[in-house]
Subunit: 111 residues, 2 copies
DNA sequence: AGCTAACACAAACGAAGGTTTGTACTCACG
DNA sequence: CGTGAGTACAAACCTTCGTTTGTGTTAGCT
């Protein structure tokens, strides 16, 4: 369904809208890290970091792995791919839109 | 400063986080349209649409052109490019190449 | 089994953002 | 200049979201 992709895109975009979550992604960008380390790196409490990790997880932007008592989180490219392909859809259209702007100005106020 | 690009990215990401604004981008994706038409297309009031258009404009996602009493809005790729390059930074080189392959397969014949 | 560490879940609080309502401004027209 | 169409700005209201606080759950250790 197209609606499913829409919902996934919406989750990913809303997750990326927060600076703390982007900071978390930066922290786990190179290597997966436990929640405690992530919280310390971004200057958040354990609970808040865990919350944001959950948001990122549901958005398909992060994946978690059980490592004993720790929970290692890493970047998931699934959600990022959804956003990327969404953005890419605007590139070819932009050229056409730009052309239409010029045409619209040439047409004048009345159609 | 890197903070400047960060601020631009933040604006674009927060602007894209709203479904109505994404709907507006879809409306003006193919051709620039006046505020009244956009509002009608997405099912919003003129004031609300104007507000979102302002958000998209400040985020570098939309550009407006004065057309007499009308104000034509079109998609601006500046903000989208900022988001795109940000996302690309998360992909390890190997995965980025893989992603490009997938995109190429989607455009080409059946694979 | 008891204890400790690491993490997740849930409710409450506060702030940020979207919608509505009202109004002022600009441009086209006579 | 006065009128009407189209749009932007501002304040009030309400919803959403991030943070805090408190607590439950799982795993490792003695």
């Amino acid at each position: 369904m197209t609606t499913e992709a829409e919902a996934d895109l919406d989750l990913a975009l809303r997750a990326l809208a927060d600076g703390n979550r982007r900071a978390i992604l930066q922290v786990i960008r190179s290597a997966p890290q436990p929640v405690g380390t992530i919280a310390e790196q971004v200057g958040l409490s354990q609970q808040t970091a865990s919350h944001h990790l959950g948001v990122l997880r549901k958005a398909g932007l992060a994946v978690g792995t059980r490592e004993g008592t720790r929970h290692l989180f890493a970047v998931d490219t699934d959600g990022l791919a959804a956003v990327r392909s969404y953005l890419d859809d605007f590139w070819p259209a932009k050229l056409a839109a730009l052309k239409t702007v010029i045409e619209a100005r040439q047409e004048g106020p009345r159609g």
